[in-house]
Amino acid sequence: MSCLQTLQDYGLRSLGIGERLLPRSDFTLCEQFVLIGSGLIWNVYFGLLAVTAGFFFATALAIAKSTQNPVYRKPAEWFIFLFRGSPLFIQFFFAYFLFLQLKTVNPFFSPLTSAWLGALLVLFLNTSAYSAEIFYGALRSIPKGDIDAADAYGMTGWSRFRRITWPTMLRLAWPAYTNEAIFMFHATTLVYFSGFPTWQQKGDALYYANYFADKTFNPFVPYPILAFYFILLTLVIIGVYGQVNKRLNRHLPQANRAKLKLRMNLIR
């Protein structure tokens, strides 16, 4: 079977399109590359949606945490502590079993027990908490002069926030936020190892890599392939976030621009 044929059969296998049965013996390098790559679709799906949605919620949380009013501050602090203080792995398990219980109460909740929604929700809340802490730190380190200048121009409330506070916060937080996005994409590999079931063997990249390692009892092929894909993905994220970073810093003189410093990949 040629590699092109394999690509047709298994290229979208993780979405349930193409050949139904996974290869069972005589695994070729091409099959491993294609299937693990196909699983990567799910990692990108989880990561992209969680990070995008989490960005907005995190901004709200960071503002809530930095207000004086305890009605907003306390819940935000607790939310952030809850999600940053416990392992993501345990959060997944807890959420999955919680969703199972909810399902017995009302069938309305049944989509939550499948990974595409339930795990996405957990990832979204988790990344929101981590990003909120980063944004909160950035909010507190906005130069006082910037705010004073905005006041001097007579800006208040929403317009001051939108034109001064928010862009400065993003600019300061961006290098750390890039790392957070990379962690998030790496953390998506936990989904199918934490209770959420794979249905018809539609899994993510690590699921397939693990499948091959189990079947061939040879970890030295599938895991390096997985590593290759993830390094590629990481490079793409760095590229995209680097462009945004450039835009956020474009008004500054060359020497003052924040460099992206990468501290990659710590587990939660």
Binding site: F89, F93, F97, T189, F193, L206
Partner: protein, 283 residues
């Protein structure tokens, strides 16, 4: 039996005692892994700033490679890789006249004398071996992070200190051990405390390495039980068990945070950093 009495009996069954003991496994893992990872990290950092080029490349490659890939992949990879590596080495030593290939299709075949642990050894040996592999894996992965932190900390020590030491005629080795190492800890501490927090949160991954840890027992005990198999039937309680684990980890994180804050205050004493200067002013 009803209410409280039922619960107190239920919570002290043999299996629950195993569950409580598995918290000990987690603490043991942390107690063993943290120093081991520090050792790997120190070695990695020393290699990465070494004067011999191949050694330096090795150190830097170790740091870069482990940090670039999702760690869970490393956890899954290293356990099999280490296991096979050890068995392969033993195979080479113990059965030199074995003529069949080790990889036969999808099988990894070594002679029975090279099996690790031996097929005849008792159950606890298997468990200990599995746990040791897990510790080694954790140490390798977290060693890379620690190496990165220590490497940065060594560079953060003010250069004037090194120059002064050299002006006093200290050798390279003396400068390293007497000047650089004692001073670097305060710079390394923020990174290391962060790493400790991450390490705590990585312990549930033990479950994936096949160790019977708290996640394993929570799933086992929480699942719904029928009267046929147990004297304490109940529905699906896994949610509550995992809530318990969540609370355990939150408490653990909180305690660590308080402790590390104190340690930072202690180590800042007499250091030429912002924290140290602030301490001098108040006292």
């Amino acid at each position: 039996m009803e209410g409280f009495q039922w619960l107190s009996c239920y919570l002290t069954t043999g299996k629950h005692v195993s569950f409580y003991l598995s918290f000990g496994t987690v603490l043991l893992l942390l107690a063993v892994t943290a120093p081991a990872a520090m050792l790997f990290g120190f070695g990695g950092a020393m290699a990465a700033r070494g004067r011999i080029a191949p050694l330096r490349w090795l150190g830097k490659a170790y740091i870069a490679l482990v940090r670039g890939v999702p760690d869970i992949a490393f956890f899954l990879f290293f356990v099999i890789a280490l296991d096979q590596g050890i068995e392969w080495l033993r195979h080479q030593v113990k059965c030199p006249d074995w003529d069949q290939p080790i990889r036969q299709g999808s099988d990894f075949v070594v002679c029975s004398a090279a099996k690790m642990p031996l097929g005849t050894s008792p159950q606890w040996m298997h468990e200990t071996y599995g746990f040791t592999l897990a510790v080694l894996t954790f140490a390798i992965v977290f060693g890379a992070f620690a190496a990165n932190v220590l490497f940065g900390a060594m560079r953060a020590v003010p250069h004037g200190q090194i120059e002064t030491a050299e002006a006093y005629g200290m050798t390279h080795r003396q400068t390293f051990w007497r000047i650089l190492v004692p001073q670097m800890w305060i710079y390394a501490l923020p990174g290391l405390s962060n790493l400790w927090m991450v390490l705590i949160k990585a312990t549930p991954l033990l479950f994936l390495l096949g160790v019977e840890d708290i996640v394993y027992w929570a799933r086992e005990l929480g699942g719904s039980k029928t009267p046929k198999f147990t004297a304490y039937p109940h529905g699906d309680w896994r949610m509550w068990y995992f809530l318990g684990l969540l609370v355990f980890y939150l408490a653990f994180t909180k305690v660590s945070e308080v402790f590390l804050d104190r340690l930072t205050a202690r180590l800042s004493h007499g250091q030429a950093t912002v924290g140290g200067t602030a301490q001098r002013k108040t006292s």
